[in-house]
Amino acid sequence: MIDFGYTIWIPLIPFFMFLILGLFGGKMKPMISGYLGTLGLLVTTVLSFFAAYQYFFQRTGEEAFEKIIASNTVWLNITDKLHIDVGVMLDPISVMMLIVVSTVSFMVHIYSLGYMKGDFGFSRFYSFLSLFSFSMYSLVVATNLFQMYMCWELVGVSSYLLISFYYEKPSAVLAGKKAFIVTRFADLGFLIGILILSYISGTFDFEELTNPEGAMISQGTALTFMGFSAISVALTLIFIGGAGKSAMFPLHIWLPDAMEGPTPVSALIHAATMVVAGVFLVARLFPLYYLGAPDVLTIVAYVGGFTSLFAAIIACTQLDIKRVLAFSTMSQIGYMMLALGVSGYGDHDGLGFMASMFHLFTHAMFKALLFLGAGAIIHSVHSNMMTDMGGLRKYLPITHITFLIACLTIAGIPPFSGFFSKDEILVAAFHHDKVLFFIEWAVAGITAFYMFRLYFVVFWGKETHYHHTPHESPLTMTIPLMILALASIFSGFIPFNELVTSDGHGFHIHTEWAIAIPSILVGIVGIAVAWIFYKKESGIPAKLAASLKLLYVGSFNKFYIDELYMFITKKIIFNRISAPIAWFDRHVVDASMNGIAWVTNSISDQIKELQSGQLQKYGYVFISGVILLTFAFVYLWFN
C-alpha cells in the first residue's frame, strides 16, 4: 500500500495561506501576497498531481480502484454510532477533481497576478482565493456527507465574498446576495436530505452509504414516506442542493448575475469548479441513486437536459460576453447532469457516469480558458458588451488563437477534447432515452452557434474604433491561456474509461461513428450559420430576430424567470404572507413586550424621583415615618 497521508496537506496549505494573507495581507506589499498565494497553490498543485500519479499509476495489480481513506479524525461524536468526521478520502472522482481544482486554480492564481494588478484589495482577493481553494479541496476529498456539507457552505461563502469583491458597486453586492440566498435556499434541501439519510442509515460515511451491497439501500427503500420511499425523498432533496449549486433550472438565476465578480473568479468558481460541485455530489452518491432510487435519476436526467436546452437558447441572444459564457456553463453542466441521469452502474453500463466525469474534466479546462480569454478581452477593451467589440484578432493574437481553440473544443470538433467527452454523453443518452438524445444533439448545434457568434462578433465583425488601441495582455495572463489551450486540446486523450468509472473497474469503449458524425455535422452547421450571420456585419440576425420576435424577446430576457421569482417572492410571499406576520409580530408580540418595558420604565422613573437629592424631603419622610412608627408602637402595639 502507498501511504497517502501527505494528501492532508492539499487542503491545509491553502487554508494556512488564507490565514496568513487574511491576517497579515494588509501589511504586505500587494504583489508579495499575490506571489505567496500562488506559491502556496503551486505546492498544492504539485502534491495533487503526485497523488494522482500514485493513485492511478502505482497501484498494485489490476484490481478495481478502491476508496482510500488517507486520514480521518472524529470531529463530533453525536452518538456512538453516528459521528461526524473530517478526513481525506481518495477515489477516482476525488483524485480527478483534485487535478481539476488545482490546475484551474493555479492557472487563475497566475492569471490574476496580471489581471488584478493594481486593483484595490489585491491581497484580500488572494486570501479569498485561498479560502475557496481550501474549501473546494476539502469538499472533493470529504470522507462523509457532513464534511461535504460544511465545505459546501464554505465554498458558498467564498463565492459570495468573491462575487461581491467590488463591494462599492451596488450590482456586485446584490449579485453576491442573490447567489448566496438562492444557493442557501437549495442547501436547505441538501441539509434535510442529509438528516433523512443519516436517520435511515445511522452514518454519514460515504463508504458505507455507497456500498452497493450495504444495508443502506435495502433499508432505505423499505421505509416509505407519503408514498415515496424515504431514500427517494432524501436523494431528491440532496439533488435540489446540488441543483442549486450547479445552477440547474429553476435554481439557475444566480449564476448570470454572479458574473459581476472579477473574471478570474468567474473562471475558477462559476465555470470550472464550484458549479460542478452539484454534479460531483450526485456522482459521489451515484450507487445510492442508481440502486436506491432510480426514479430520482430520471428527474436528474430531465432537469439536466431541459437546463442545457434552455440555457443554450438564452445564450444565443445575450450581449454581455460573460453572460453568454455563464449560460453556456449552465448548458454544459446540464449535459453532465443528464449523463449521470442516464447512466447505469458497473462496467459498460456506467458509460454515462464516466462520460459525465470526462465532460466535467474537459469542460473545466475549456471553460476556464474561455473565461480567462474573455477576461483578457475585457481587460484590453474595458467593456463587457459585445457591441463594443469587433475585429480584435489583429490586436490580441494569442487570445484570439486560444479562444478559437476553446470555441472549437466546446463545439465538439475533433480532435479537441470536447468532442470526445460530449460524444460519450450522446452515446450514453442515445442508449437510454431517445428524446434526451435529440435534445442534446440539438443543443450541441446551438452551442456551436452561440460560441462562434461570440467568437466572430468579438474577433471579426465590424471594425470598431477604440479610444486607445487594445493591446495583448502581459505574460502572466497569456501563459495560463496557452497552458489551458494545450489542456483543452489534449485532455480528450486521457483514458477515462480505464480510470474514472462508476464502480472502479475499467472498461473498453469505441467511438460510435453513427452518433459521432451527426454530432460533428451539427457542430459544423452551427459554426457555419454563425459564420454567415456574424463574420461580416449583416442584416440577417436582425431580420431573424424580427421574424421570431416572441422567441427572441423571451430569450433576451432570460424567459422572465427572474421576474417570475420576483413576483412569487415579492408579491405573494412578502406582501401576502410575510407582511401580515410582520405586522402581527410588530404590533402584537413586540408591542406587548414594549408595553411591559414601558410600564417598568415609567414606574422606575416615578420611583427615581423619590431619590431627589433633596435633603429636606428625606428628612420629611424620615420624621413622618418615625412619628407613625411611634404612634403604632405606643398606641397599637402595647395596648
Binding site: 420629611y620 420624621i623 413622618s624 418615625v626 412619628i627 411611634t630 404612634f631 405606643v634
Partner: protein, 170 residues
C-alpha cells in the same frame, strides 16, 4: 402664683416665642439673634432648676461661642439685607401637619405617663463635686466620656480646618 411659676412661664414663653421666630424669620441675622434669646432663656431654666454651672456653660459656650460662630459664618456667606423667599404653602402645610402630629403624640404620651417624682431639696451641685466627678474614675466618675469628648473636640478642630481650607490651585 409663686415666683417659681412666674419664672417658669416667663422662660417657657420666651423659649417658645423665640423658637418660632427663629425658624420663621426671613432675615437670617435676626434668626440668629432670636436663637440667642432662646439659648439665654434656656439658661434661665437651668438657673431655675438650680444648676448654676450648667447654666453658666450654656451662656458662655452656647450663647457666647456657637451663636458668634454662626453669625460669623452668616457674614461670610450671606448679604445682611437679603430676605428669604417665603416658604411654599404646600410644603408648609405638610410640614406643619407632620410636626403637629408628632407634638400631639409626644405631649399626650408625656401627660398620660405617671412620673415618680422625688421631692427632695433642690440642692446646687458645687464646683468641687462637678470637677471631682468629671475627673473621677470610680462610681459617679466621668473620666472616660470626658477624655472621649476632648479627643472629639480635637478631631473636630482638625476636621473643620481641613474642610474649610482653600484647595491649592493646581
Amino acid at each position: 402664683m409663686s415666683i417659681h411659676e412666674l419664672m417658669f412661664y416667663l422662660f417657657s414663653g420666651m423659649i417658645l416665642l423665640f423658637s418660632v421666630l427663629t425658624v420663621t424669620s426671613r432675615r437670617i441675622l435676626r434668626a440668629a439673634t432670636y436663637l440667642l434669646f432662646v439659648l439665654i432663656s434656656t439658661a434661665g431654666i437651668y438657673f431655675m432648676l438650680n444648676y448654676q454651672f450648667l447654666a453658666a456653660v450654656q451662656l458662655t459656650l452656647y450663647a457666647g461661642g456657637i451663636v458668634v460662630l454662626i453669625i460669623f459664618s452668616i457674614l461670610l456667606t450671606s448679604h445682611i439685607t437679603h430676605k428669604f423667599e417665603p416658604i411654599g404653602i404646600k410644603k408648609m402645610v405638610f410640614t406643619i401637619v407632620a410636626v403637629a402630629a408628632g407634638a400631639i403624640l409626644t405631649i399626650t404620651t408625656v401627660l398620660n405617663y405617671g412620673f415618680n417624682t422625688v421631692v427632695a431639696s433642690s440642692q446646687n451641685p458645687d464646683m468641687q463635686l462637678i470637677g471631682g466627678s468629671l475627673l473621677g474614675y470610680g462610681r459617679d466618675g466621668y473620666a472616660l466620656p470626658f477624655e472621649v469628648i476632648s479627643v472629639l473636640l480635637l478631631a473636630a478642630i482638625f476636621g473643620s480646618i481641613v474642610i474649610a481650607k482653600k484647595e491649592k490651585s493646581k
